[in-house]
């Protein structure tokens, strides 16, 4: 299950992946209340979340939270250090957008009278999405892709009356072939750790 909340400035693709937004993948213990601890930390310290997605990993002891943070609200270093103080946070990895595989899921219900339907289906096809549901005058479609592709898709869908659009917030993993040195920084929780990030290569 992927949970998402709080999206702002969804139509500012130029900001995404730029100076302002940074991706943190945060490995946390899979325990009750951990998401509240992370969200509460951002709230009480005045750090802004652009998007947040959380799901269990294949190791049931841990979940991974992918947070896109707005560093206009606080220096990234301060956000990382405060996050690292949460006892349930096991490891934090900062992913430079250029050095990460990013995906986000979009679901949209669109007004599509029978005469417009084929155009919508065609558009979905061009982007490599899927039609999930068909009603008499509406379609529900899905697209998974990098966030800026979803932005473009969303703008084009707006040409047809989009009734409802839901996006998940992005999830990301490091590219297998890392970029230039220093582009990807791993924030070690501490020097004396017993367990590092069991998920990292």
């Amino acid at each position: 299950m992927t949970v998402a909340f709080e999206r702002a400035n969804a139509h500012e693709p130029s900001e995404r992946g730029g100076e302002r937004h940074h991706i943190l993948t945060v490995l946390v213990e899979n325990k009750a209340g951990v998401l509240a601890r992370v969200a509460g930390l951002f709230s009480r310290r005045g750090f802004n979340i652009f998007s947040l997605a959380v799901a269990p990993t294949d190791d049931e002891r841990f979940s991974r939270i992918t947070i896109v943070v707005d560093v206009a609200s606080a220096p990234l270093e301060q956000i990382v250090q405060q996050l690292d103080k949460l006892v349930n946070v096991v490891a934090i990895t900062e992913l430079a957008p250029a050095d990460a595989v990013q995906r986000e899921l979009l679901l949209a219900t669109v007004e599509a009278e029978p005469d417009a339907r084929s155009q919508v289906i065609q558009l979905v096809g061009v982007f490599g999405g899927e039609v999930l549901d068909v009603g008499p005058d509406r379609l529900t479609v899905m697209l998974a892709g990098p966030p800026d592709t979803l932005d473009s898709f969303e703008r084009l869908l707006d040409t047809y009356a989009a009734v409802e659009i839901q996006r998940t917030g992005l999830v990301a993993l490091p590219r297998l072939d890392p970029g230039p040195p220093g582009a990807r920084r791993r924030h070690e929780p501490a020097r004396l750790g017993r367990i590092g990030d069991p998920r990292s290569g």
Binding site: G33, A36, G40, Q78, D84, K85, L86, V87, L192, R194
Partner: protein, 575 residues
């Protein structure tokens, strides 16, 4: 061995070496109170849960051991939220055990239910809701480990009633059994950082050692003194670090900050190097941040990496335990030639001595009533046993106590720094006396503060804990009054209390204490002597002090430290 969760909880506290805890029972925690009857742990029954929390803090601050408090669910737990917040701000190790409604009732708005782990998430270092009796020993061991290691702080363990009553097979966890995969406090510094710090220290011409509470938390006072004497650097001790370096030492400049003395404030402003040791550039120290110590490079040592670069960008940032870092600096200096820069620092010391001579701490003494509050602190100081522990609440009296007491030893000063919790002094003094029964403990309190938590003197009288309380009774919420006088055009809004309502002497006597009063300056010394002679019950002395007296110097809130306002008499001198 089969134990109930309640028995396992008390046994776990015993295994942690807990000798005393402060608390008040109620429905959800009832099962845990039963095995207390057969325990080696002394339980002190408070009159309000806030008192239990502050007592545990006072105990922790003077002993260095974690304070332990126990409360019931709902209002019992919310009443200890203020002490948790206070301990979080001042990094005091505290373990609070709260009762919770049964697991089946959680989330149903049951009687005395409160989501206390949710409430205290932001003001504890960590908290736990225990869901199985079998987890209790491990969670207690984790709680003490988290509270006392790294940057110390408060933790809370919430125990539902059915968890206390169900049974488990007793065990005591080994360190490797603790389930804390994300908790790795930094302790030892990088050698490179230490070398970089030494380089800056070797170049500095106007250095200041900016000492915070972290030096006390790390038991680093001796190492600090060695480093100070080895370098010849001047030392300022923040409100949380009073006693970390002796006030009588020629290199001690005293307290910096909003009500710091002129020399400590100005030396930091003019410094070319600040070596911050376990200090966090609090706004009460820096004044307006962008105008703070504008010419200084910064070496910042803190065990909490999140403090580094948080307020002020450091030139050298060292994440580590202050004592270990101090010792590493000293070790590294052993490799260098001795006689570090006494000549180099001479002009700096000349300027410092000039400031000290021109702007000492000052008040205009009086031989007629009302009593000058600063005089009470000086008389208390001059008549105190060596090693006396001083405890303060929050406000003018706190600042005068910090300014006019002479702190010679670590762990002799207990106050509420970061949170600014009025009412802290009486219960914290009780906790301090429990932790150090061999020491005299004087609470210097305000009349406003005293009225918030005075009921704990009943606890002290019942438990024969002979603390002494000096009320600097100016019949006002004095610090607020001072701000209204200075910054709100003398429009006094809701700050007048009363010198006589309540009658503090009668109130003290009603609570089983000795009650004394001093109304004129010549009565101050004899009243203190009388109080010092009592050792079998608490004493309260009502000192009728001058309501017009203000705390000087003062840096107005939000102003740069260069805008320091000195005592009017000094201002006249300066012109």
């Amino acid at each position: 061995m089969q134990l109930t969760g309640a028995q396992a909880l008390i046994k776990s506290l015993e295994m942690q070496g807990v000798d005393v805890m402060f608390g008040l029972p109620g429905g959800a925690i009832l099962p845990v109170y039963d095995p207390i009857l057969g325990s080696s742990i002394r339980h002190i029954l408070v009159r309000h849960e806030q008192g239990a929390g502050h007592m545990a803090e006072g105990y922790a601050m003077v002993t260095g051991r974690p304070g332990v408090a126990m409360v019931t669910s709902g209002p019992g737990a919310t009443n200890i939220v203020t002490p948790l917040s206070n301990a979080y701000m001042d990094s005091t190790p505290l373990v609070v055990v709260s009762g919770q409604v049964s697991t089946a009732a959680i989330g149903t708005d049951a009687f005395q239910e409160c989501d206390i782990t949710g409430v205290t998430m932001g003001i504890t270092k960590h908290n736990w809701l225990v869901t199985r009796a079998a987890d209790i020993p491990r969670v207690v061991a984790e709680a003490f480990h988290v509270a006392t290691t790294g940057r110390p702080g408060p933790v809370l363990v919430d125990v539902p009633k059915d968890v206390s009553t169900s049974t488990m097979e007793w065990y005591w966890p080994e360190p490797e059994d603790l389930d804390l995969p994300g908790y790795h406090p930094a302790t030892a510094p990088d050698a490179q950082d230490v070398a970089a710090a030494l380089t800056l220290m070797g170049q500095a011409e106007r250095p200041v050692l900016y000492v915070g509470g972290g030096v006390l938390k790390s038991r680093g006072a001796e190492s600090l003194r060695a480093l100070a004497e080895r370098t010849g650097f001047p030392v300022v001790t923040t409100l949380m670090a009073r006693g970390a370096f002796p006030d009588s030492h020629p290199q001690c400049l005293g307290m910096p900050g909003m009500h710091g003395n002129y020399t400590a404030v100005t030396a930091m402003q003019r410094a070319d190097l600040l070596v911050a040791l376990g200090a966090r550039f609090d706004d009460r120290v820096t004044g307006r941040v962008d105008a703070f110590a504008p010419g200084a490079r910064v070496v910042h040592v803190d065990i909490d990496p999140a403090e580094l670069h948080k307020v002020r960008r450091a030139d050298v940032a060292i994440a580590g335990d202050c004592r270990i870092v101090l010792d590493a600096l000293l070790d590294a200096m052993d490799g260098q030639s001795a006689g570090q820069g006494s000549d180099r620092l001479a002009p700096w010391w000349d300027r410092i001595h000039e400031w000290q001579a021109r702007f000492p701490l000052y008040y205009e003494s009086a031989d007629q009533p009302p009593i000058k509050p600063q005089m009470v602190v000086e008389e208390l100081r001059d008549r105190a046993d060596p090693g006396t522990i001083v405890v303060a609440g929050v406000g003018q009296h706190q600042m005068w106590a910090s300014q006019f007491w002479r702190f010679e030893d670590p762990y002799t000063w207990v106050n509420s720094g970061g949170a600014g919790t009025m009412g802290f002094a009486v219960p914290a003094a009780i906790g301090a006396k429990v932790g150090r029964p061999d020491r005299s403990v004087w609470a210097v309190d305000g009349d406003g503060c005293f009225q918030m938590t005075a009921q704990e003197l009943v606890t002290a009288a019942a438990e024969r804990i002979p603390v002494k309380v000096a009320i600097l009774n100016n019949a006002y919420l004095g610090m607020v009054r001072q701000w209204q006088e200075m910054f709100y055009g003398e429009r006094y809004s809701e700050v007048y209390l009363s010198p006589d309502l309540p009658d503090y002497v009668k109130w003290a006597e009603a609570m089983g204490c000795v009650g004394l009063r001093a109304e004129s300056p010549e009565e101050v010394g004899p009243a203190i002597d009388k109080a010092n002679a009592v050792d079998d019950r608490p004493v309260v002395v009502d000192f009728r002090t001058d309501a017009f007296e203000k705390v000087y110097p003062m840096v107005p809130a939000g102003a740069p430290n260069d805008a320091i306002v000195v005592h009017p008499a000094h201002e006249r001198l300066a012109r």
